[in-house]
Structures are given as C-alpha cells and as structure tokens.
C-alpha cells in the first residue's frame, strides 16, 4: 500500500513548507475567522462557527474509532450526550464551572464507554454496529426517561457559560476562542494518535483483525482503547455544546445525530482525519449556506452520503492522500529518521 512508502529526506525548502499549511489553518481559525465574525458581529454567525467546530471534534473522534480502527459505530451521539449531561448536571446541581466540567465530561463519557465496551468489544462487523446502535438508544432512553435525574424531555438549562479558573469567557469572541482552542488541541491530539504506531496498530485491526490477532496485536484491548478515547473526545464536545448553548435536551443526541456524524466521516473519507474535518464542515456549513432549501437539510445529508459512497468510495480526501498530506505538513515529529539523519527518535514510519 502506498501509505507505507518511506519519506524522502527533506531539504530546507520543503521543511519550511511543511509548516505552511498548519500555520495557515491556525491563522484562519484564530485570526481571520474571528476578525470576520467580529466584523459581522451577529450572534448567529458565532453560533454557526461554534457548532461547526464542535462537529469537527465529533467527526474527528468518530474518525478514530470508525475510520482508523474500522469499527462501525452507530451510537456516537449518545456519548456526546453523556458528556453534555455531565457538564449540565455538574453545573446545575453542584455549581461547578467549565474548567472542571470539561475534563470531567470527557472522563465520564469515557468511563461509560469503557463499561459498555467490556461486553461488546468482541463482536464483529454488523453485530458490533447494531450493538452500538442498541447502546446509543439505551443511553438516549436513559436521558429521556430518568426524569428525576436528567429532567427527561424538558432538558436542562446550563446557567454558566465558558470560564477559565474563574475568568469569564462568555463573551461572543471569547466563547469562540474557547471552543476553537479546545477543538484544535483535541484534533491535534487525535491526529497524533492516529498517525503513530498506535494508529497503525488500529489500522491493522481494520484491515484484518484475525490476522492482526495472529501477529500479536491485542485486538480487543486496542478496540476498547480506541472506543474509550473516542468517547472521551465526544464527551469533551458535549461539554462545549452544553456551555455554549446553555440548554440541552435528549433530542440533541438521538440516532439521527449519530448518523450525521457517521455521514461526515464517510463523506470526508474513512480513515482520513483531514477528510473527517472537511466532511464535518461541509455537512454543517452547506445546509446553512443553502438555507433556502430549509426542510431539505436532512435529505441532503442522506443524498451526500449516498453519492459519496457511490461515486467517491474513498471519500473527498482518501486515506492515502491524507496520510501523505499529514506526513508532509507535520513531518518533523514522525519523519523517517533514516540513514544520515542520525537518531531514530521519530515516532512515525521507520
């Protein structure tokens, strides 16, 4: 496979170029977009930008489990919901702030994922997919029916916005920067995870789990780790959502949301992180851009998904090209430290 070809030794020019794209993306996310948003200064645009960023994180976290590890996950929105409910309940019952709820939401979602993964991780293909569907629906039913604890269909009002160690960040621009910072850090972390030896082990499970097992890869354990990690990031996204909108209800975390996230990963290209990010932006921003279509938003999700499976089976940005891009752009950390470059400290392909 192309993905495993070695990287040619790089000279100074391409080394400088390798920082161009990440720098441009950072500039766009942290300077150009906020400037644009501040220029328009309409709450609605901030809302859309934040929503898109949150779905970028959800899509990236699903990329880890569905794209890289190849486990078809149909209940991702439930873990997003667990994170959101954790944040909302901690805020409304214990009065904790965002600084505390953000990591705790991720941890609680990861814990729930770990517990449900214990019995189900040995299932394969369609059985796994349906088991995750069942788990997602069960969690949704808990959110909907455990009225004493979650207030059921009425939802919960989250009274506190973003803050960092007591400093309020609930202004529009500050909130955008908070969401952007958390999402960027998480996406970088997911990128480092999926483009490492660890990610390659997960890929080996996706390609042929029996073979990987025979080669000594501990498949069940790796699957559980990928599932738990992805739930952690989904929980983080849930906390962002709860503090951003100030109100959550079970309807935000139902089956169709899981499908939407799945569609993002599929459209972008299974196994490709840049693809997952692009897919999320496409499926959130396109319906907003085409507001005239109104009710056709969901039908478009289905159509885009169907057409991309049919016409672009590798997605908008296939895995191989995505891997090349990542290695070229973020080269230094996982560059092949072949002969002539000295120490073998890169974490990438050797």
């Amino acid at each position: 496979m192309n993905a495993f070809e070695t990287v040619a030794p790089t000279d100074g020019l391409s080394r400088r170029r390798s920082w161009l794209v990440p720098a441009l993306i950072l500039l766009l996310v942290f300077a150009a977009l906020p400037a644009l948003l501040a220029g328009f200064d309409r709450g609605y645009f901030y809302q859309i930008a934040n929503l898109a960023l949150i779905f970028v994180l959800l899509s990236a976290s699903m990329h880890l489990v569905t794209g890289v590890a190849g486990l078809l996950h149909l209940g991702h929105a439930a873990f997003y919901g667990v994170g959101a409910y954790t944040a909302a309940l901690l805020t409304s019952k214990l009065g904790l702030g965002f600084t505390v709820t953000l990591p705790l939401s991720g941890l609680v979602a990861a814990l729930v994922a770990f517990l449900v993964a214990l019995p189900t991780m040995r299932l394969v293909s369609i059985y796994f997919a349906v088991a995750t569907l069942a788990i997602g629906q069960m969690l949704y039913l808990v959110m909907l029916n455990w009225v004493d604890f979650t207030k059921g269909p009425n939802g919960i009002i989250v009274s506190k916005g973003f803050e960092l160690f007591g400093v309020s960040l609930s202004g529009r621009l500050a909130a955008y920067y908070t969401v952007a910072a958390v999402v960027t850090l998480s996406v970088v972390a997911i990128g480092r995870l999926s483009h490492s030896y660890y990610g390659n082990a997960l890929r080996s499970i996706r390609e042929d789990d029996q073979c990987a097992d025979a080669m000594g890869v501990s498949t069940v354990r790796l699957k559980m780790e990928a599932f738990t990690l992805s739930a952690f990031f989904a929980g983080v996204a849930g906390s962002l959502w709860a503090h951003m909108t100030g109100y959550i209800s079970p309807g935000d975390f139902k089956f169709s949301e899981s499908i939407l996230i799945l569609a993002m990963v599929v459209v972008g290209g299974l196994g490709s992180l840049p693809g997952a990010v692009i897919g999320a932006l496409l499926l959130i921003l396109l319906p907003e851009g085409l507001r005239a279509l109104g009710d056709f938003r969901n039908i478009m999700v289905g159509l885009v998904m169907f057409l991309s499976i049919l016409l672009l089976p590798k997605g908008l940005l296939g895995e191989v090209s995505a891997l090349r891009l990542v290695r070229r752009q973020l080269g230094a950390a996982w560059r092949n430290t072949g002969p002539g470059t000295g120490k073998g400290e890169g974490i990438g392909w050797r």
Binding site: S125, I126, N145, I259, N298, G302, M305, I309, L310
Partner: protein
Amino acid sequence: MFDPYYLQQLAIGLSLGMTYALMAIGFTLIFGVLNVVNFAHGEIYTLGAFAGLVLISATAPPIVAVILGALAIGALAGFSLERIAFKPFRRFTDEASLKSRAMRESTLLSSLAVSIVVREALEIVFGSQMRSVPFDYLINTPVRVGPVILVTGDFIIFGVAAAMLIGLQYLLTRTRVGLAIRAVSNNPLGAKYVGIDTDRTIITTFVVGSMMGAAAGILMGLYYGAVFPAMGFTPGIKAFVAMVMGGLSSIPGAVICALILGISESMATTFVSSGWSDMVAYGFLILTLIFFPNGLFGARRERV
C-alpha cells in the same frame, strides 16, 4: 397470576409480538436468509403504510384493494432499493470482492443513506405529524374471548403472519426459487457457477421480502390508526432483535422470538413504565449477542 388483568396484558403482549413477527418475517428473508445487510426495510414498511393511506384517501376502495396496492408499492420499492443501493456495489463478481467486508459495509451505509432519503422525503411530502386512518378502515373492533378482550386486527394479523410464515417456508424449502435463494446466500460465486442467475434471485428475494414489509406496514397502519414517516424505525429495530435472537437464518425462530419480545415488552410496560419498555428490546439484543451468539434457534455461525 390468573388474575384476568394479567391475562389481558399477556394477550396484549402476544398481539404486540405478532406485529413484530409480521415485520420480522420479510426482514429475516432479506437480511438473514439472503445475508444482505439492509437498513432500509423499515422505510419499505412506512412506504407500504403511506401507499395504503393515499389509496384510501383518494378513492376509498375496499380493504383488499388497499392491501394489494400496498403490496404493489412494496414490490416496486424492493426492486428499486435493490437497484439503487445494492446493485452498484456488486460491480465486481470475483470471490474476494464478494466476500470482502468493504463491500458488505458499503451496502450497509448505502441502504442507511437510502433510508434517510426516503424518510425525509416522506416527511417533506406528508409532514412529520401522525396522519390518522379513516375510521371505517380500522381493524380494531373489540372481540371478547373468554376473560380477555382482543380486536379483529389481532386475528387478521395472526392469520397474515401465519400465512406468510407457511408460504415462505414452502417457498424456501420446496421450490426451485427457494433453492436458488438458499444457494445464493450460501455461496454467491458457487451459485453463479452452477448456472443460477444470482442477480435475478437477489431481486426476487428483495421483491418478496419488501412486499411482506409493505403488507406489515399497511396492516399496522390500519391496526393502530396512525401513519407517520418515522414509523418504520422502531419496528425495524424490533424485527432485527427478533431476527438476531432467532438465529439469523431461521424465520420460525424469528417469529417465536418476536412473540417473546412482545410479551416481555408488555410485561415491562405493566410493571415498570411504558417509557422504559423499549429498553427490553435493546437489552435482549445485547444479551443475545453476548451469551447466545448463535441465536436461540439458529445454526452455527462462524463469527459474531
């Protein structure tokens, strides 16, 4: 225990189970017997119900004509579903791609995508609210049987489900078409080598299974008196659970498990609350997958 109240709940559970069984029969034919992952069966069910509703509100024909209309729409929908969501992914017929996970998962995703499109299209055309079926067509006239009260629909559904079950068993085990279906599900390439038109067999299975799905949809619409675009989702899940519990390829197993599911759910509604009764199906699914991976009545499966 022999309180008439519980007997009544048991009867309600049985009739609920019957409605699941009705859905599960067609579902198991496509999914379990043919071994094709089809997430769009719930939408076929919805389409059947809406076809019946449109017919009723347009021309008010006799009930038999309504059901025939729904069957025709079901056949058409099954045919188009196979052409749109499954045929394009059978581009290659060599052994490796027929068995590959990638192909199986792409049809899983494509049928999921088609089901979203159909459901949303129905929502745009008919609105997402429940539409009620005209009173004359409802099949819920109460009938008293000993200490419990049933409705006419229970008997109709029982009759239809039994007819479907027997008809399908006959088709699968006694006719050449059934033999071809079983051959294709067992080994598509082998079936091709011995001269079976696999494409046609798959289409036949889809058409028959979808007709059953559509019939289930219209009967349910007449039974509950309400038709809405998302109505196929829950029965689809229940049918899937019944199929997995029954051991995938066994249609009688799926029917028995649908009855068990219906009774358990009605008991859960009685003793806990109706909001939690859906939990029973999901719980059963997970428990079956973990403890009885071969299903309660199924043959051995390689990997679950």
